[in-house]
């Protein structure tokens, strides 16, 4: 039976450079990141090149994506949050397209690698940290001191708030990574059942129909998860940015 982990292997495609003992390659991961960015760019450029008052299909798709992200950002970070719209939209579009591209057979799921999701989460984390201190100075530390807490338990609450703030990039990145990894392994395990039973002959074909239906249902579920996890990732980005804009609780 095929190894369900094999799909996550990173393959070196084109050697680029060698500095010291570190080799730099153009990998399948980089290729599919560029595919995700390319599809997003094509969608947005194609949709806005021939703008109409009554939008066509492509323009509608782009407008829905834009309005959806803008509403999400406005409702969680306020009108001020719209200055971060380019960041939130890029993150949402990249994660969404990368998740969906990964569902196509024989492709590579970029977001199933912790290094990619951790980089995205750290970009958000440091944006919040740097913008918060830039905008509010030391007033940003009010984020860790909630109002209306009795003085004698305030140190403990502040400590818990600091720890919860520092653990944000971990949960932010591992959530997306673990969901994509687990979903794709499940898909491949059930697909392996189909192939294994199919090799047994006619009785195996009858038995193999069951996991085949399961694979189809799981693919539909994964499509939902691909969208939901991109939405959760972008929504948490908005909520964290709200902390940088309005640090008082």
């Amino acid at each position: 039976m095929a190894d369900p982990i094999h799909q996550f292997a990173i393959v070196n495609l084109v050697p680029l450079a060698k500095i010291g003992h570190t080799e730099f390659h153009f990998t399948n991961s980089a290729l599919f990141m560029m595919v995700a960015v390319g599809i997003t760019a094509l969608l947005m450029v194609g949709a806005t090149s021939r703008r109409r008052m009554v939008p066509g299909r492509l323009q509608s798709a782009a407008e829905i994506l834009h309005d959806f992200t803008a509403d999400m950002l406005r409702s969680s970070a306020g009108e001020e949050g719209m200055r971060f719209f380019p960041l939130v939209f890029s993150v949402f579009a990249f994660v969404l397209i990368a998740n969906i591209v990964g569902l196509v057979p024989f492709t590579f799921t970029v977001t199933s690698h912790i290094i990619v999701t951790a980089s995205l989460a750290l970009i958000v984390f440091f944006t919040v940290l740097i913008y918060g201190f830039y905008r509010h100075g030391l007033g940003f530390l009010r984020l860790f001191v909630p109002h209306g807490i009795p003085l004698y338990i305030l140190p403990f609450v502040a400590l818990i708030e600091v720890v919860s703030f520092l653990s944000r990039p971990i949960s932010h990145s591992v959530r997306l990574f673990a969901n994509m990894l687990a979903g794709h392994i499940t898909l491949k395990v059930f697909a392996g059942f189909v192939a294994g039973l199919g090799s047994l002959g006619v009785i195996g074909w009858l038995g193999g129909a069951l996991p085949l239906v399961m694979v189809i249902a799981l693919t539909a579920l994964e499509l939902l998860v691909a969208f939901l996890q991109a939405y959760v990732f972008a929504l948490l980005t908005c909520i964290y940015l709200n902390d940088a804009l309005h640090p008082g609780h």
Binding site: M72, S75, I170, S171, R175, L228
Partner: protein
């Protein structure tokens, strides 16, 4: 006990924590559905809060998964 065996047993025990997160996530969606059926017109406006609560709760399950993954691949 063989350290490798202890590592694998520890990873399995760490995964029990995800059951707690499962209870929490079920509670969130169950309560949302119960409230949404009582007042369907207010349900749409609370979708963002629903997903936020889900994400915060799921984070605790993710930490136990992280402990399991660290035991399996990093220790």
């Amino acid at each position: 006990m063989d350290p490798t065996a202890a590592k694998y047993i520890g990873a399995g025990i760490a995964c029990i924590g995800m059951g707690g997160a499962a209870l929490g996530v079920g509670q969130i969606f169950g309560s949302y559905l119960a409230a949404a059926l009582r007042n369907p017109s207010a349900a749409q406006g609370q979708f963002g809060n629903l997903i936020f609560g889900f994400a915060i709760t799921e984070a605790l399950g993710i930490f136990s998964l992280l402990v399991a993954l660290l035991l399996l691949f990093a220790v």
